[in-house]
Amino acid sequence: MTGIIQIENLSKQYGSGTKALSDVSLTIQEGEIIALLGPNGAGKTTLISIICGLVVPTGGRVLVGGHDIRTDWRAARKLIGLVPQEIALEPFEKVINCVRFTRGLYGEGPDDAYIEQVLRSLALWDKRNAMTRELSGGMKRRVLIAKALSHRPKVLFLDEPTAGVDVALRREMWEVVDQLRRDGVTIILTTHYLEEAEEMADRIGVINHGELLLVKPTADLMGEFGKKTLTIELTAPLAMIPDALSDRGLRLSPDGRSLAYEYDTRAERTGIAHLLGDLAGQGITVRDVSTRQSSLEEVFMSLVAEPRQEVTA
């Protein structure tokens, strides 16, 4: 099945020599929400910019709705809405005129009823006659979203939609995305927060150094990386793990003073209560416990490190 977006062997080397993307291929299905995760400079914005027509790729091709973005760009671009990472707005323009303007650029006639609906859904209707420069940062970002939605795109790109947005607004943003999902809009968003990707996306792609390291359904990825480690510090050092506990997947630290237990946070039973009971049953006294969740950095670290391990093995 061909997707609404087909990215084939896409590469980009900037004039400065920076290789921002190398050989990225990805197919995105209609109605899907995909989150691109990656550290600063990974190439997320470059990937989005190429698909939207802001940056010319040095290799490969992209089809949007079956239209090549280089040769059939008018048809391809009509399907797309972009919310850029950097806020850029005409300062001396009313909010509603900004949105009308974008709709015009996309070749659509005026439709104030629809624009009202968009502004209301983004809680901007009260601000429709305000100058954009009078708005707060979070409001400006929502104006950018309203502009991007002004022509009813089938594909929406959100480049770090929640950067610099407070917690309450972040929730609101997630709700907006959820509404768009129900309307059948395909969404590609970038973020630095695993939590955010988990909340919104059907699939998560991880990019680093211009390479798409993996793309997986969110549930699978969270299963792999959503693990927590419980560290149990012992009052007296152990020489070895007692046989009765050998099937629990415990790891004893080299000094014998602590046990590490890995568990899945999303499992119904984490087994922690049992484990602590059994330890007491074996006469092992616990001094302290702590837990640690594998962070996004560790996700990257493990992904980046893996190929190297293969080489040395």
């Binding site: 671009r77 850029a88 709709r103």
Partner: protein, 256 residues
């Protein structure tokens, strides 16, 4: 012109004209003021000594030149600023991701810049009626030259705006190139008043052909044949269009 995104053209044109009307007083006041100054300085001071040029009262003789000077300056600065500002503020991304190509962007921005320049030139013509009696021999040709010249130099300004990477660059071309060309292009004198050698040099200046054709539409007098003037403007428009098309096709300074 099927396939052109006309709502897109209108959106850009309307947006640019809105900015013009928002600052209508500044937009009109300074050209009118400088016209008045030109009449006082050139018309009164010089006109006192030069009674007439080729049978035309000097005050009236400089009206076409003044209008040309204004139209060139306004066209270039409107169009170059019009496209430079979104580059500077970052809103250029919208033009690059939406289904508008070089045709729509050019028609929108250049159309607006040329419209503003023509409006201002007409206001100057009205202003000059207060100072001298100007009779226009070929009003339709006068308008045609005005519009064509505004288009040609708005296109040039548009290229300057696309090329410029800083406000300094944006201003250097109009200041260093356009203004001297206008002053040396016979705006305030007839090329025939120059010694033969300098008359030859002046004829290398493209602006001379515009001023000459334009003056012909007023008084029926020209330094060069009117047909040559028309061809000169036509060539300029064609060359600029080709340049803009190339810029958008390659993404030079836009999609780098």
């Amino acid at each position: 012109m099927s396939g052109v995104n006309w709502p897109g053209v209108w959106a850009i044109f309307h947006h640019e004209m809105t900015r013009f009307f928002r600052t209508i007083m500044q937009s009109l006041l300074s050209p009118v003021l400088s016209t008045v100054l030109y009449f006082v300085v050139f018309g009164a001071a010089i006109g006192g000594r030069i009674q007439s040029v080729e049978g035309v009262e000097y005050g009236a003789f400089i009206v076409p030149g003044l209008m040309m000077l204004t139209i060139l300056q306004q066209s270039v600065s409107n169009a170059s600023f019009g496209i430079y500002f979104p580059k500077f503020s970052g809103t250029i991304y919208e033009y690059l991701v939406s289904p508008v190509g070089w045709i729509e962007v050019t028609l929108g921005f250049v159309g607006a810049a040329a419209t503003k320049a023509v409006l201002i030139a007409l206001v100057i013509l009205l202003t000059s009626f207060f100072f001298v009696g100007v009779h226009i021999l070929h009003p339709v040709w006068m308008l045609a030259f005005l519009v064509l010249t505004a288009l040609g130099f708005s296109l040039l300004g548009f290229i300057i705006g696309l090329w410029a990477k800083s406000f300094e660059q944006l201003q250097v071309v109009p200041m260093m190139v356009i203004t001297p060309l206008v002053f040396l292009g016979g705006a305030f004198y007839s090329a025939e008043m120059l010694p033969p050698f300098w008359e030859g040099v002046a004829k290398l200046n493209p602006v001379l052909y515009l001023v000459s054709g334009f003056r012909w539409s007023f008084f029926g007098l020209a330094d060069v044949p009117v047909g040559v003037s028309l061809v000169a403007v036509g060539l300029m428009i064609a060359a600029c269009c080709a340049g803009i098309r190339w810029i958008f096709a390659t993404g030079w300074r836009l999609r780098e």
